[in-house]
C-alpha cells in the first residue's frame, strides 16, 4: 500500500475541488437550460432562472413539437447526417489513401490542391453561383454534397494511413491484392480509431449544419431540423419586434407564447441526440484531438 503524505492528500483534495467546480461550471448552464424549458412562462419572466421550476409545464415542448415540421426536420437531418457521413468517409478515405501511397506520383499536387482549399475559398457569391449551376439547389443533395470533402480530415486520414506498417501493405501486394482490396481489407480495418473520430466530427457537422439549408433551399417543402428551429425563433422574434413598428396593428397576445422557454426547449431538442451519443464515443473525440499531430 502506498503511503500518502499530507501534502499529497491536500494536493489531491485541491484537484478534486477544482475538477468538481469545473464540472459544475459546465453542468449548471445545461441544467438551467433544461429547467427553464419546463418552467411556466410567467414564472420565468417574473422570477428569472430557478434551480427548480416553481411551476412545471411542458408547454414549450408542445410549441416546438407541434405539427409535422419538426418531425420532418428530424427525418431530413437524420437522413442527411447518415448519408453525408457515409459518403464523406468513403470519398475522404479514398482520396487520403491515394495521397498516402508513395507510388502515386500526382499525390503531392493533389495534396497541394486539397491544402489550397483550406486557406483560400472562392467567396460566397461564386460559391452560391456554382452550387446552383451544378444543381445543388432546392434538393436534398444541397445539404449533403457541399460538405462531403473536408481538407482537414483528409489530411488526418492520410497521416494515419502513412503511419500504418508498410510491411503489411507490401505483403498483401505480393499476395496479389489490388489497391481496392488493400484499402478495404487491410487499411480501413486497421484505422478504426481515426475512422470513428472522423465519422463523429463529420456527423456532428452535418447534424448542426443550418447554413446550407438557409442558402440552398428556397422553394423546397422540406428543411433540416436546424432551419426549422431557426424559423420558429425568427418568426416569434419578428412578431415581437413588429409590434412596436409604426403602423403595425398586431393583436397576437405574446404573453401566451413562451418565447424564452421555447428557446431553451429548442436547444434541448436539437442537442439531445448528440448528447446521448456522446458518452459512447467521447474517447474517440479525445483521441481525435491528437490525431495527425505527430507526423506531418
Amino acid at each position: 500500500m502506498i503511503n500518502r503524505t499530507l501534502s499529497d492528500r491536500i494536493f489531491s483534495a485541491f484537484n478534486y475541488i477544482v475538477a468538481t467546480l469545473f464540472t459544475l461550471i459546465c453542468f449548471i448552464p445545461f441544467y438551467t437550460m433544461v429547467i427553464a424549458s419546463v418552467t411556466e412562462k410567467r414564472a420565468l419572466i417574473r422570477f428569472g432562472y430557478q434551480f427548480w421550476p416553481s411551476q412545471f409545464t411542458l408547454e414549450a415542448y408542445q410549441w416546438v413539437l407541434r405539427g409535422q415540421a419538426v418531425l420532418t426536420g428530424y427525418a431530413v437531418t437524420v437522413f442527411v447526417t447518415l448519408t453525408g457521413t457515409l459518403l464523406s468517409l468513403t470519398l475522404m478515405c479514398a482520396l487520403a489513401y491515394a495521397m498516402s501511397n508513395k507510388k502515386f506520383k500526382p499525390r503531392n499536387p493533389i495534396a497541394f490542391y486539397v491544402y489550397f482549399t483550406m486557406i483560400f475559398s472562392g467567396g460566397i457569391i461564386p460559391w452560391f453561383i456554382t452550387m446552383r449551376a451544378v444543381g445543388l439547389y432546392d434538393n436534398i443533395w444541397a445539404l449533403i454534397v457541399p460538405m462531403l470533402m473536408n481538407p482537414w480530415w483528409i489530411f488526418v486520414l492520410r497521416n494515419y494511413f502513412n503511419n500504418l506498417p508498410t510491411e503489411i501493405l507490401e505483403s498483401a501486394r505480393i499476395d496479389g491484392a489490388s489497391d481496392l482490396q488493400i484499402l478495404t481489407r487491410i487499411v480501413l480495418p486497421l484505422s478504426t480509431p481515426v475512422l470513428a473520430t472522423t465519422a463523429l466530427f463529420v456527423s456532428v457537422a452535418y447534424w448542426n449544419d443550418w447554413w446550407h439549408g438557409v442558402m440552398l433551399l428556397d422553394f423546397a417543402d422540406f428543411r433540416p431540423l436546424q432551419v426549422i428551429i431557426l424559423r420558429i425563433i425568427n418568426n416569434i422574434r419578428a412578431i415581437r419586434e413588429a409590434m412596436s413598428v409604426p403602423g403595425s396593428t398586431i393583436t397576437i397576445d405574446m404573453s401566451q407564447i413562451p418565447a424564452l422557454s421555447i428557446r431553451m426547449a429548442i436547444v434541448v431538442v436539437t442537442i439531445g441526440p448528440i448528447i446521448l451519443v456522446y458518452p459512447f464515443v467521447q474517447r474517440y473525440f479525445i483521441h481525435g484531438l491528437t490525431l495527425g499531430a505527430i507526423k506531418g
Binding site: R42, I45, R46, A69, L91, M92, A94, L95, A98, N101, K103, I110, Y113, V114, T117, S121, I124, I125, W127, T130, R132, V134, L136, P146, M147, L148, M149, N150, S178, D179, L180, W211, V214, M215, D218, F219, V227, L230, R231, N234, N235, A238, I239, R240, E241, A242, M243, S244, V245, P246, G247, S248, T249, I250, T251, D253, M254, S255, I257, A259
Partner: protein, 591 residues
C-alpha cells in the same frame, strides 16, 4: 471477360473521382456577409430628387392570356411577422394566382422565403438568382443595391398602371424619387408623425385619482406618485431605443419653437436647425434648439430613481414583456402609444395582472395643439424590382400590383388570406381574428412591407375610438406643414467613411446621455468632441454645399413650398396653438 486494372489506373480513378468532390470542398469557410461589390456608378448630381422627366414610356407587355401562366416571384426579404412557412404562404399564393387568372391576368404568384434574409437577400442579386421583386428600404439594402445597379427604375412605367398611381397617390410617388429615378413602389399612408408617446398603467392612475396625462409634465406627477406608493415598482421602464432621452415635446419650461429636419436621415450628429428659415442651415447637434432638453430630463428621472438601471441592455419588446406586463414598471415609451396601448399591450398586461389596464398618449401633443410638424411624404418602405430580369418580368410584377390595388377584395386576400379561414371580414374596414387559429403561423402580410398603402388594411375589431381618432389625425395632410426640403436628399457616398465614424461616435456617447447615466454637461462635451474628431464639421459643410446647390436648382419650387409651410404655421399659431396656450397658460412665453 473482366480485365484487371493496374494499381496506377486504380489510383488515378480514385484521385480523379475525389477531385470532383473537392470542387464542393471549396465552400466558404464562414458564412459572412457578401463582400462589397464595385463602387457606385457615377450618378446624377447630388441630391437630385427631381420629378420624373417626360420620357417615352414603354408599353407594358401583357402577360400571355393563354397557355402557361407567367411566374412572378416575390422575395420575402424581411418577414416582419409574415409567417415564414410554406404551409402558411402557399395556399394564399395559389388563391391569388387563381383569382388573377379567373380575371384574365395570366400570372402565377409565388413567394421565395428567406430564412436568413439579411445575408441571403443581397446575394440573390449578385448571383443572378431569378426573381421579380422584393421588399426593400433605404434603411435596409436599397441604397447600396441601387448604387450597384441591381434595382430597375420604374418611373417610365407608372403611367401605364393607373391603379398603382391612384392607390399610392401621385404626391407620394413624386416625393420618393432617388437620384432622379423611382427605384421602387413606395408604400405610403402616414403623412405625419407625432404619435409616439408613453404607455402607462391606467388602473394605477385611477387608484391615485389622477387625471389622464396629456404631456410629460402630467406624467411626472404620475411617476412621482408611483415611486411613493408602489415600493417594488420602477416608475418608468426604458430600453436602448425607447427611453427618456428618446421622447421629445413640451416639458416644464420648454416648448419647441423651431422645426428641425434631417434630410434623408443622412446627417449624424447634426441637422438643419429650422426648415422654415430661409436659407436653411446645418448645425451640430449641440447647437440645435433644445439640444440638451431630453438629456436633462433623462438625467433628472434617473437621479430620482424613476428609471431602470439596465436601460442599455434591453430592447423594447423586453421592456414590455419583462417589465411592464409583469407589473415591474408603471410606464414606458412606445411607438403610437395612444393607438397601441389598448390594442397591442393590454392583453399581455392582463395575463399577468387581471385588473391591469394600459393606456397611452402622444408626448409631442400635436392633437392638442402644442406643436405642429412637417408632413412626411418620403416613405420608409418600397417594393423594388430586380433589374437583372427581363423587362417583361418587371412589367408582369407591376401588372400584379395594378391588379392587386384595383380591388379591396384582392388586397384583403393578399394581406389577410382567405376570409373565414385566416380572418373574418367585418363591416367598416374591420376584421376579427378567428378563435383557435394560431396567430404565429396564421397567414398575414403587413401593409408596410407588402406594397399596399395602409388605408387599405382593415383594422382589428377591437380598435378603440382613441385608435381610430389618432389614425385619422396622422393620415390627414391638413394637420401638417408641407416640408420645403423633403425632396432634397444628400449624396452620402462622398462622406461614407466619415459617416460611419460619426455613427459609432454618436452611439458610444449619446446612449448614456439618453439613458440619463452621465452628467449632461460632461456627456455633451464628450459627445461633441467625439463628433468633431470624427470630422462631423466636414460632413456638415459638404451637405450644406449640396443643400445650397439643390435650393439654387429648385428655387421656385422650394420657395413656393416654404411659403405654404410658413402660412400653415402662422394659421396654426393663431388658432390651435393660441387655444393650447389658453388652456396651458404656464407655457406662455416659454422657450
Amino acid at each position: 471477360m473482366s480485365r484487371k486494372i493496374t494499381r496506377r489506373q486504380m489510383l488515378y480513378v480514385i484521385g480523379m473521382g475525389t477531385a470532383t468532390g473537392l470542387v464542393s470542398a471549396c465552400q466558404s469557410a464562414t458564412p459572412t456577409m457578401a463582400p462589397a461589390t464595385q463602387p457606385p456608378a457615377a450618378t446624377e448630381a447630388a441630391g437630385a430628387t427631381e420629378a420624373p422627366k417626360a420620357t417615352e414610356a414603354p408599353q407594358p407587355t401583357e402577360a400571355p392570356k393563354t397557355g402557361e401562366p407567367k411566374v412572378i416571384t416575390y422575395v420575402d426579404s424581411a418577414g416582419f411577422g409574415s409567417p415564414p412557412y410554406r404551409e402558411s404562404q402557399d395556399p394564399i399564393a395559389k388563391a391569388l394566382s387563381e383569382k388573377m387568372q379567373s380575371e384574365g391576368i395570366n400570372l402565377e404568384f409565388r413567394v421565395m422565403l428567406l430564412d436568413n434574409p439579411k445575408e441571403k437577400y443581397p446575394i440573390l442579386y449578385a448571383s443572378g438568382t431569378p426573381f421579380t421583386w422584393a421588399f426593400d428600404a433605404p434603411w435596409y439594402f436599397m441604397n447600396s443595391l441601387r448604387d450597384q445597379g441591381h434595382l430597375r427604375p420604374l418611373e417610365t412605367y407608372m403611367d401605364q398602371y393607373p391603379n398603382i398611381v391612384k392607390a399610392i397617390s401621385q404626391d407620394v410617388i413624386d416625393f420618393n424619387y432617388q437620384l432622379g429615378h423611382l427605384y421602387g413602389l413606395p408604400t405610403g399612408f402616414y403623412v405625419g408623425g407625432g404619435a409616439s408617446g408613453v404607455v402607462y398603467r391606467k388602473d394605477l392612475l385611477d387608484k391615485y385619482g389622477m387625471p389622464e396625462p396629456k404631456n410629460l409634465d402630467d406624467l411626472e406627477l404620475f411617476l412621482a406618485e408611483v415611486q411613493k406608493t408602489e415600493k417594488d415598482m420602477i416608475p418608468f421602464g426604458a430600453d436602448d431605443t425607447f427611453n427618456v432621452g428618446y421622447m421629445s415635446g413640451p416639458w416644464r419650461k420648454w416648448l419647441p419653437k423651431k422645426h428641425g429636419y434631417n434630410p434623408g436621415g443622412a446627417m449624424v450628429g447634426g441637422g438643419i436647425d429650422d426648415g422654415l428659415t430661409n436659407p436653411p442651415k446645418y448645425l451640430g447637434s449641440e447647437d440645435l434648439e433644445g439640444a440638451t432638453v431630453a438629456y436633462e430630463r433623462a438625467r433628472d428621472w434617473y437621479e430620482k430613481g424613476w428609471v431602470n438601471k439596465n436601460v442599455l441592455q434591453l430592447k423594447v419588446e423586453q421592456t414590455v414583456e419583462e417589465l411592464f406586463n409583469p407589473g415591474k414598471c408603471a410606464a414606458l415609451a412606445y411607438n403610437e402609444a395612444a393607438m397601441k396601448a389598448e390594442l397591442t399591450i393590454q392583453p399581455g398586461l392582463q395575463s399577468f395582472i387581471p385588473e391591469g389596464k394600459a393606456a397611452g398618449f402622444a408626448v409631442e401633443g400635436p392633437m392638442e395643439g402644442a406643436t405642429i410638424q412637417f408632413s412626411i411624404l418620403k416613405q420608409w418602405n418600397f417594393q423594388v424590382f430586380n433589374s437583372h430580369m427581363p423587362e417583361e418580368d418587371t412589367l408582369a410584377g407591376l401588372q400584379f400590383f395594378n391588379w392587386l390595388l384595383g380591388s379591396q377584395d384582392n388586397i384583403d386576400l393578399y394581406l389577410f388570406g382567405i376570409d373565414g379561414t385566416n380572418y373574418k371580414k367585418l363591416p367598416d374596414m374591420k376584421y376579427a381574428d378567428i378563435e383557435g387559429v394560431d396567430g404565429t403561423t396564421n397567414y398575414r402580410r403587413r401593409w408596410y412591407v407588402a406594397g399596399v398603402p395602409g388605408q387599405f388594411e382593415r383594422v382589428p375589431e377591437q380598435a378603440t375610438e382613441n385608435f381610430m381618432k389618432t389614425l385619422a389625425y396622422i393620415t390627414d395632410l391638413n394637420n401638417y406643414m408641407p416640408n420645403p426640403l423633403e425632396k432634397f436628399e444628400p449624396e452620402r457616398k462622398v462622406k461614407e467613411a466619415e459617416l460611419a465614424q460619426l455613427t459609432a461616435a454618436s452611439k458610444e456617447f449619446s446612449l448614456p446621455l439618453a439613458a440619463g447615466q452621465v452628467d449632461v454637461k460632461e456627456g455633451m462635451d464628450k459627445l461633441t468632441k467625439a463628433l468633431k474628431d470624427a470630422k462631423r464639421d466636414d460632413v456638415m459643410a459638404e451637405f450644406q454645399t449640396q443643400l445650397d446647390k439643390w435650393i439654387g436648382d429648385n428655387k421656385s419650387e422650394y420657395e413656393a413650398t416654404l411659403k405654404k409651410a410658413q402660412t400653415k404655421y402662422e394659421d396654426w399659431k393663431n388658432t390651435k396653438f393660441a387655444e393650447y396656450i389658453k388652456a396651458h397658460p404656464e407655457k406662455a412665453g416659454t422657450a
